[in-house]
């Protein structure tokens, strides 16, 4: 099957900074790819080159079978990281204009905008001026603008940035709907939790270079955390007793419960049973692989990496509450 996007050996340099370095990427049609990495990793530059907003110094791109996104712009939806509106324009006029630029007739654009705005909880904003909307409302309107042409390829650059938890959830649902419709989705984020939830394939970029390109399911197997998360039924339960279980390497208190690190060569199923027999659990499960752990493990092994793991972790967790709480 023809790929929706093929990036081969793409490099972009600004002055002495190599923003993207020999990037190779193939996104099959219908797939959802997450482009992740800390701020400044080169995600936005890569996306701008895919959109033909910037042009690579080296390398080639194929977008929806065309040699440049310029030839397929009507079939692409794009939500840039730095997104804006014409503040004095009315919402319906703004969406109509964006739709017209993508070849959608006015009547059809109005109908689609009506449905999408309603889905996003903005049924009454069509005739309002953009400057009268809150930031969260504006971001939803901008998302409508990105998908109003029912794109075959949807590129979202930090789509959840600055959104409140409710808006994040609404947006995730709409992205999932686009996924079901058959759109290929590529989105960048530095908030790993969002990528974990939505993506089938993860592409990690660090200092302009691709450091990982794997399916999410493979990552879970490959980067098995060997950690059990336990919330005891009785908050006063003696968690120290768990140290007596053979194969328990480390126990770390975590809120009302704890995180138990297992030694290599232990059988996870047996360990779960052993833990549950000593401390009655309210919740017990294996910790899922976290992309931030994978990322840190990958870049820590890279020569010349100077960030501390903790600084990276803070960054990748979304600089606090941004988008990660939903």
């Amino acid at each position: 099957m023809e790929a929706a996007l093929e990036v081969t050996g793409v490099t972009k340099t600004f002055g002495s900074t190599r923003a993207v370095d020999e990037l190779n990427l193939v996104v099959p049609r219908g797939a959802t790819y997450g482009l992740i990495g800390p701020s400044g990793a080169g995600k936005t530059t890569a996306i701008r080159m895919i959109m033909s907003i910037l042009f690579p110094d080296r390398g080639t791109l194929t977008v929806l079978g065309k040699k440049s996104a310029l030839e397929a712009k009507d079939r692409i939806g794009y939500l840039p990281e730095e997104r804006g509106v014409y503040r004095r324009m009315r919402v319906n006029a703004f969406l109509r204009y964006l739709a017209a630029l993508k070849g959608v007739p006015t009547a059809e654009a109005d109908a689609r905008a009506h449905v999408l705005l309603e889905k996003l909880g903005l049924p009454d904003v069509a005739k309002k001026k953009c400057e009268d909307l809150s930031k969260g409302m504006l971001q939803r309107v901008q998302f409508v603008g990105a998908i109003i042409n029912r794109p075959d390829l949807l590129i979202l650059d930090e789509p959840f940035s600055g959104l409140d938890p409710v808006s994040v959830r609404v947006l995730r649902d709409l992205i999932a709907e686009e996924q079901k419709r058959g759109a290929t989705i590529l989105f960048s984020t530095h908030v790993m939790a969002n990528a974990e939830e939505l993506c089938q394939q993860i592409v990690m970029i660090h200092k302009g270079r691709k450091v990982l390109d794997d399916p999410m399911s493979g990552l879970r197997r490959q980067f098995d955390t060997r950690r059990i998360l336990l919330d005891p039924l009785d908050p006063a339960a003696d968690l120290g007793a768990l140290r007596t279980i053979a194969g328990v390497e480390h126990i770390k208190a975590n809120g009302e419960g704890c995180e138990i690190t297992l030694a290599a060569n232990t059988q996870p199923g047996e360990m779960i049973r052993a833990v549950a027999s000593l401390v009655a659990p309210a919740r017990i499960e294996f910790a899922r692989v976290r992309l931030e752990d994978v990322f840190i493990r990958l870049v820590s092994g890279t020569a010349g990496t100077d960030e501390s793991a903790q600084a990276l972790r803070t960054h990748l967790q979304g600089l606090g509450a941004e988008g990660a709480v939903a």
């Binding site: 730095e82 997104r83 804006g84 509106v85 014409y86 630029l101 901008q142 603008g145």
Partner: protein, 438 residues
């Protein structure tokens, strides 16, 4: 034309021409012209204070008083004002007739004492001037070749207009008295001195045109129209680009159109705005001329060239202004980059008097082929009484289009590279470097 370019152009045009700022700006020029021609003379006339008060004269000649009294008579003052206004071409402001009382003082009176008289005036009975005529003002004393003159003392607060009336009156009285003293017939001499000045009729192959005030002003008017069209479209182009950049809406647009399409759309949209401005002003101007039966003073070919030159000039300056808008993040940052562009736009006004005096001199011809001022120079030459041959005007368009192509090329490179750049505003050298590297 690419449909996306058309859509961007349409939006740019509609948003601009329906804005309140544009409508006010468009109407303000005709409104100001109306005010100037219709209301200002009345206001000026209404606000000019009446010339009124006592004037003392010490006549050292003993011969002048009669003629001075005649020269200071209200009818004589008004007649001189009308004659002067006709000579300068300015409208005569209506004014209340002057009321000047001439008081003669003996020749042996102390001038110092009379100066005190000048300071004792009241609001109801103002004392405005003391004129001391020298004894040799009418007949030369001894072998001296020059006539004597007079001294003028005025009260504090006497305005320039009153002072001028007194100067003119004394001058007229002295000349009349001197002529009479020589036994010359004054009315005959005055009549002999009066030669009406006709409007020159310029004769060229196939037509004759009368040169008058309007035809002299026409090159300036055409240049002004060209300037207004370019500056209106260009300035809006720059501000709308800065706004799109600072609003961060530009990357949303670039998702749907290429940078080049966006640039052309904006250029063409504002080209239309400039055309509306020019169309309105030219239309109103022609309407005004038709009211005064002066429509024949304007050659229709001139109007065609005006619009053709506008297209060329706009493409040159509009694209440069667009590149400035794309390069900066806020209007304030644009000022330093706009400086050289504004200087180029104003250069024709420095050249206009030189071209106006000799429209077909070597200098005028050479300037007509040097972009970006060539269109202004050629417009001034075409509007003059001795227009150049048509091939020169067409060559100006060709050269202008070449200049426009260079400007658009430069703007396209700046536009593409700088639209998504934020931070320190670039200087001219940086812009040139960007154009070379992109």
């Amino acid at each position: 034309m690419n449909s996306r370019i058309g859509l961007v152009a349409k939006r740019e045009f509609v948003v601009t021409v329906t804005s309140k700022g544009f409508l006010i700006g468009l109407l303000i020029m005709p409104a100001l012209a109306l005010l100037f021609f219709a209301l200002v003379p009345r206001i000026l006339g209404g606000s000019t204070p009446q010339i009124r008060g006592d004037v003392e004269v010490i006549d050292g000649t003993g011969q002048l008083i009669g003629d001075l009294r005649a020269a200071l008579a209200p009818a004589a003052i008004t007649a001189r004002a009308v004659a002067n206004a006709r000579g300068s071409g300015a409208p005569t402001p209506p004014r209340a007739p002057p009321e000047l009382a001439l008081l003669e003082r003996p020749r042996d009176v102390s001038v110092e004492q009379e100066k005190n008289w000048l300071t004792a005036g009241t609001k109801e009975q103002p004392r405005i001037a003391l004129i001391v005529i020298h004894p040799d003002a009418v007949e030369r004393s001894g072998g001296n070749g020059d006539f004597g003159g007079y001294d003028l003392y005025v009260a504090n607060g006497v305005n320039d207009a009153t002072e001028s009336v007194i100067y003119d009156s004394v001058r007229q009285a002295l000349v009349t008295t001197r002529l009479r003293a020589k036994g010359l017939e004054v009315p005959a001499i005055e009549s002999a001195m009066r030669v009406p000045r006709p409007n020159a009729i310029v004769v060229s192959a196939g037509r004759q045109t009368e040169r008058h005030g309007f035809s002299r002003a026409l090159p300036f008017i055409c240049g002004l129209l060209l300037f207004l069209g370019v500056i209106t479209g260009g300035q809006t182009l720059m501000t709308s680009t800065v706004e799109e950049k600072s609003n961060r809406v530009v990357e949303v647009l670039l998702a749907a159109v290429s940078p080049l399409d966006l640039m052309w759309g904006k250029l063409l949209g504002q080209l239309g705005v400039g055309l509306v401005v020019m169309g309105v002003y030219v239309g109103l101007g022609l309407l005004g001329l038709s009211q005064f039966r002066m429509l024949s003073q304007v050659d229709p070919q001139l109007v065609v060239f005006l619009f053709a030159f506008y297209l060329v000039t706009y493409l040159m300056f509009g694209s440069l202004m667009l590149s400035v808008g794309a390069a900066v993040n806020q209007i304030a940052d644009a000022q330093s980059l706009m400086g050289p562009i504004m200087l180029l736009l104003l250069t024709p006004y420095i050249l206009a008097p030189i071209i106006g005096q000799a429209p077909n001199s070597t200098f005028s011809v050479v300037v007509s082929f040097i972009p970006p001022v060539n269109t202004f120079a050629m417009m001034a030459r075409l509007a003059s009484d001795t227009p150049p041959p048509i091939w020169q005007a067409l060559l100006t368009i060709v050269v202008g289009l070449a200049g426009a192509a260079v400007c658009v090329w430069f703007a396209a490179r700046i536009f593409r590279i700088s639209l998504l750049l934020h931070g320190k505003p670039p200087n001219l050298a940086t812009l040139i470097r960007w154009a070379r590297m992109s």
